[in-house]
Assembly symmetry: C2
Homo-oligomer: 138 residues x 2
């Protein structure tokens, strides 16, 4: 079956599936990303204001360096966050357009965001010292 409109297509623009992939004879493409980075990214956006899933899809690239998140996994992540008490959601019938689920950060979510920030700072210092060591003797 053919779909004129496929959300998944948004997420595809010259990415590969792997972290490192061959792009020619002896040529590689590498990308370095933080594991599960979407989670803190979602939390940060939600701390600023309540949002629904589709808005997050548009806003997340601001934080991920332009990379679009997989839509299916976003909604799954949101529901997981809700199960864990990190966000709450509400169907907002009021807004125009199709039904939207609006997400809000809880107090626990705010604390989790701060933990993520701490962890990211540690990661920054680990990577920084890697880069320092890399640049030392070239």
């Amino acid at each position: 079956m053919f779909f004129a409109y496929t959300v998944g297509m948004h997420a595809r623009h010259a990415r590969g599936t792997r972290c490192r992939r061959r792009v020619g004879a002896g040529r590689w493409a590498v990308r370095a990303r933080v594991e599960r980075f979407v989670e803190p990214a979602i939390l940060l956006l939600l701390r600023e204001r309540t949002l629904h899933g589709y808005e997050l899809i548009d806003l997340l690239p601001e934080l991920t360096g332009g990379e679009r998140i997989d839509v299916g996994n976003l909604y799954r992540t949101l529901r997981a966050l809700e199960d864990d008490g990190i966000v709450t959601s509400e169907w907002s019938a009021s807004l125009p357009g199709p039904a939207k689920r609006t997400y809000e950060l809880t107090g626990e979510g705010r604390r989790l965001l701060d933990l993520w920030a701490e962890a990211l700072r540690e990661s920054q210092s680990i990577v920084a010292s890697f880069l320092k060591r890399h640049d030392e003797r070239r």
Copy 2:
């Protein structure tokens, strides 16, 4: 069956299996790591001198912030790197103790390391701007 000596035990010291895990009521532990970070770490160590697997196990924590890598996966990674022409290995019967496979970085491996460094720098700037935004309005 019980094993007095299990290499895997080295790798266990109060880690969880997940990136984020619950450690109490409303309490979480988070760790932020770069995907596949062991790879550049191995390459950096091998650029400095040739090493065998077991030495890498001891040296890698220097670069990963103390975290010990899973031994089984280390050897698998090394073989994958060799398949990709990034390292070469040699059985060194000369050295005392059990047979050791000594790994050396190839020219391609050196180039890949530089690509990793570039990618890590990009990741640093993404995370840095996340943290900036996080710290702005508290």
